[in-house]
């Protein structure tokens, strides 16, 4: 179970990214996090595993308080939190297998990982995961030789190789076509069901979120403005989250063939600023 209590984040530039965000995610629950660009979705999931350092508030995962952890403890906490990224973030020049095994880095010492001598059960698990995501035939290929959908499957396998208690998923389908997007979302939701894994999915595409998740949290300027079932997303709520617009085509239809192209219209100002600040801080954590 994941519990966020009054989580806030103010970047060094003074930008307020999150304000008093509190919610709980039960085991097996998949939450869709929606909101306009710059609303703090990306910051929020990165505050959970502290790739971005929260300014105040607490994050509890099970009985661990992640926000109170020091360097070593934080590494142990991170290895229990799988993360899946928008542009896949695979190490392009490594093989598919190395990318999946890199999910084990938090469990294995430096020299073992350097010589790629992972424990036999970790290797067997990696093969099992690659089979699960349908990539058994591509084990020795380099990651940059795969298509977008295949790469995201490797990303999923890498996150699962951590034996996670939680998945944080940042725009998993933003660089994929509509069909592949649906396949990837279905795979993620199925895997979370199989393993009873809680997950938070940042997602731009409201229709896609409505189709696959059973709980949606709406973020607007760092505040939670909606938390409930996808059926509750009516024109009024969408206006509260995104601002005034004609929402009639986006509101849930009964058949699956929902109109797609909602995204990329009019990005609010301040977007670039926020991601730049976030990027700088994320890398700063490396030193």
């Amino acid at each position: 179970m994941l519990r966020l209590t009054n989580l806030s984040k103010v970047y060094a530039t003074g930008d307020r990214a999150l304000t008093d965000v509190s919610f709980t995610v039960e085991p097996g629950q998949v939450v869709g996090l929606i909101g306009p660009s710059g609303a703090g979705k990306s910051t929020l999931i990165r505050c959970i595993n502290r790739l971005v350092e929260p300014t105040s508030g607490q994050v509890h995962l099970g009985d661990m308080e992640i926000t109170g952890m020091r360097r070593h403890g934080l590494r142990r906490a991170r290895r229990r939190i799988g993360m899946i990224f928008q542009e896949y973030a695979l190490v392009e020049r490594l093989t598919v297998m190395e990318n999946v095994l890199s999910g084990q880095l938090g469990y294995v010492g430096f020299w073992r990982s350097f010589f790629r001598k992972f424990p036999p059960e970790a290797v067997a698990n990696a093969y099992r995961l690659l089979d699960r995501v349908g990539l058994s035939a591509h084990v020795d290929k380099r990651a940059d030789a795969l298509s977008g959908g295949q790469r995201q499957r490797v990303g999923i396998a890498r996150a699962l190789a951590q034996n996670p208690d939680l998945l944080l998923i940042d725009e998993p389908t933003a660089s994929l076509d509509p069909k592949t997007s649906r396949q990837i979302m279905r795979l993620i939701v199925e895997i979370c069901d199989e393993r009873g894994l809680p997950a938070i999915i940042n997602i731009h595409d409201v229709a896609l979120a409505q189709q696959f998740v059973r709980r949606i949290i709406g973020l607007q300027s760092g505040h939670v403005v909606f938390d409930g079932s996808p059926d509750g997303l009516d024109a009024e709520v969408l206006t509260k989250i995104y601002g005034e617009e004609d929402w009639s085509a986006t509101i849930r239809k009964t058949d699956d063939d929902v109109d797609e192209d909602l995204a990329d219209e009019g990005e609010p100002a301040g977007v670039v600023q926020e991601t730049e600040a976030a990027r700088r801080e994320r890398m700063a954590g490396l030193t």
């Binding site: 973030a89 990027r279 030193t287």
Partner: protein
Amino acid sequence: MTMSPDVPFRETWSRPPFIKRAWLRWTLYGGALLYLALAIGSIEVNWTRVWDGLDRGVRFIEGFLVPDFTSRWEDILVGMEESLTMTVTSTVVGVLISIPIGIGAARNIAPLPVYAVCRAIVALSRSFQEIIVAILFVAMFGFGPLAGFMTLSFATIGFLAKLLAEDIEDIDESQAEAIRATGAGWWQIVTYAIQPQVMPRLVGLSLYRLDINFRESSVIGIVGAGGIGATLNTAMDRYEYDSAAAILIIIILIVMAAEYLSGFVRKWVQ
């Protein structure tokens, strides 16, 4: 949509100038031109000396047209062997030392104190030209290839560590972030997220440096650091332009071979 049919749109457009203020722009351009004219005017040319020198130049070129490989073959062979040994050993040692310094000099992965120290080493190594370093090392270790080896290793550090650091600073950070999110430690991030991204360039730069070190080895020999440069210098001093030409031709061939080989290897590691 706003449409105003009464007001026609302008039909001309020009690129905004790089320096916006017109007076500043013309002052800078004019000043640069004036300086160039004055600078060229200040160069003194002794035309009678140039005329005399033409004669020597012709003798040199004549010698070059009939290179003599045989009469100094022994010396050439010894010098070449020294140069090649110097080149390979100094490149290997230089690259091995450069890697940790280059990692330390990359701002995005090194803590500030380490960064400052490594950047200082790089700056020190880069601020002295090879010849000056060679003169110093010749004074310290005496004539011969040891001084040359030390010089080239030292110069390699400045070159390679700087370029490696810059390449590390340019990596795709999302890959490093993803590896960090798995709970990997710092060294694991370096070997899993950074090394794969910079390896092809590191190999390419090392081969390029091998090439440079060979060429430098033929120059620093002139100040006494051994190698083919020393042989070349002796030949020149004795006005044996035909032997000098033979040495130059061999240097050109070896540089070309190195160039071809490095191009091949770079394509292979990509």
